[in-house]
Subunit: 311 residues, 2 copies
């Protein structure tokens, strides 16, 4: 039997990151990049994206070295890569966008290589909802579709977003986005309203506070975040989470259900915790199954407690 494949479409970027303690210009980033590096340790990843002539060869080589199929990465020779410059504040959660240059991303029309279209798993990372729909339409019949989005699309492309959400099994978004999309402040009510838009499962990411899963059976799961002493760069944490999450679900023999989604939440949290320990995908590069598994055990012990009784 062939191993199942996981297609991701999203941004591939060159970021310029400023944190209170350090700065990294030319930091390779983008939602599809982080997702692919994280998921590559768990399953067979196929990346769809676009870059310009300035995109460094080493980054393509890094993706390839991790087994990512980059045949869907379009390289536009007369264009420049999407660039984002941002500054993190003291709490490492709030950030300010200093510059955004869409460059080749502005006219991006994702086109899936023929052999990608029959893939079993699809993740629509954070890009314009209309492009997410285009990609979905090119797929034959994926078993499971995940999607990430952001406040911008909720504001300026709300109808397009709601259209693509009808095809989605798992939506990941942060708490503010859940409130914005639903119009509900309370997070339980917000999750219910978001599920009514289509996604049977909703993952609400809360940064340093972990993530919540509201699943298709109406159950709630709370995944902790690992308290880390040194957060170097939070960029890509959410995409790395999605990579670990989808990567687990796309493994041979894993059926998508309430139990496997919970395990997926932990692998997502594991990959996010590695991501923030370095700039770019530095910490996602040299991992192996044993290192990931050790951190999975750390997460397990983080929430483990003895069952007790008063009665």
């Amino acid at each position: 039997m062939n191993k199942p494949h996981l297609v991701v479409v999203g941004s591939v970027a060159i970021d310029w990151i400023i944190t209170p303690r350090a700065e990294r210009p030319e930091s390779v980033g983008g939602s599809a990049t982080f997702f692919s590096m994280a998921a590559s340790y768990l399953s067979q990843v196929r990346l769809v994206g676009v870059v310009g002539r300035d995109f460094p060869d080493y980054a393509v080589a890094d993706l390839r070295a991790n087994g990512v199929d980059v045949s869907g990465l379009e390289i536009v020779q007369d264009g420049l890569t999407f660039r984002w410059k941002g500054q993190y504040h003291e709490n490492m959660n709030d950030r300010t966008t200093l510059e955004t240059h869409l460059n080749v991303f502005e006219k991006f029309q994702p086109r899936l290589p023929a052999e990608f279209r029959g893939s079993e798993y699809l993740f629509l990372a954070n890009i314009q909802p209309r492009l997410q729909s285009d990609v979905f339409a090119q797929m034959q019949r994926p078993r499971l579709v995940g999607l990430d989005t952001m406040n911008l699309w909720i504001s300026i492309a709300n109808d397009d977003l709601k259209a693509v959400l009808k095809n989605v099994d798992v939506l990941t978004l942060n708490d503010e986005e859940a409130r914005q999309l639903s119009g509900e402040h309370n997070i339980v009510k917000a999750a219910r309203a978001v599920r009514a838009l289509g996604p049977r499962n909703v993952v609400i990411k809360r940064g340093e506070y972990g993530a919540l899963l509201f699943d298709a059976d109406g159950e709630v799961f709370s995944a902790p975040a690992l308290p880390l002493e040194d957060v170097v760069d939070p960029t890509g944490a959410g995409d790395s989470f999605a990579g670990g999450f989808m990567g687990w679900l796309a493994r041979p023999g894993v059926e998508p259900n309430g139990a496997s989604l919970r395990t997926a939440m932990i692998y997502g949290s594991v990959m996010a915790s590695f991501c923030v320990e370095g700039f770019s995908y530095d910490r996602l590069k040299g991992l192996d199954a044993a290192a990931i598994q050790r951190r999975f055990e750390t997460f397990a012990s983080l929430t483990n407690f003895d069952r007790a009784s008063l009665t």
Copy 2:
């Protein structure tokens, strides 16, 4: 063998609570009140505090009905009870203090009844650190001492606070207070710095995001908060947490160690989750062991996931 006793000293208050959806004037509150009501379901509570002639008889009767020994509650006939008026904002986390009247609390000199002094467990709820020290000095030899504090004392009574902390086994405080007390922004570093002040165990409360335990063995435990659809009034959540936490540790046969502290964190979270479902101690009143145990199981399922492996 006699059951162990748990002494709490703290405020007993009449609050005026305004939330975005409702208002409750004359809402009986105070740190010792919430603590006592929550802990009363788990162990033998002895309350030390002060009120004025305006304190309602029904509240004393409610404490008694829950088995709380109120012989340490001083009633000053020519004074009025401590009053606090506060308003919660839309997110139900931020609040603004509108009025504070210390009243009888201004000259409070806690005096423990003779039979309280040999109690095995002591919780110094949020009051002036110097009073916390006075109470500690009146105790013979408690097995375990817990303490809660607030930003005000960290600012204006820092030396007094640091003095009493040397006698404390478990300190509970929120994340902002941990940062303020330690001067460290990162929560792991903050917890370590706070532990160096005396308390071998530090509990960092994060409101709707749960709580973290940094224990005497250097282990970290993350307790989730229950995502609730209707938060009526967050007042007293932290004190109710402390009540459930200390209440578990003060049960016959429970030895204070890393494992029992984790279980205590969950009973604390359980009692906090009940507290916020009503004004004052409304929801903490009619509970029983079975209802508490059912919610304990809800917390267990909230973080439960299958162990899995990549290797």
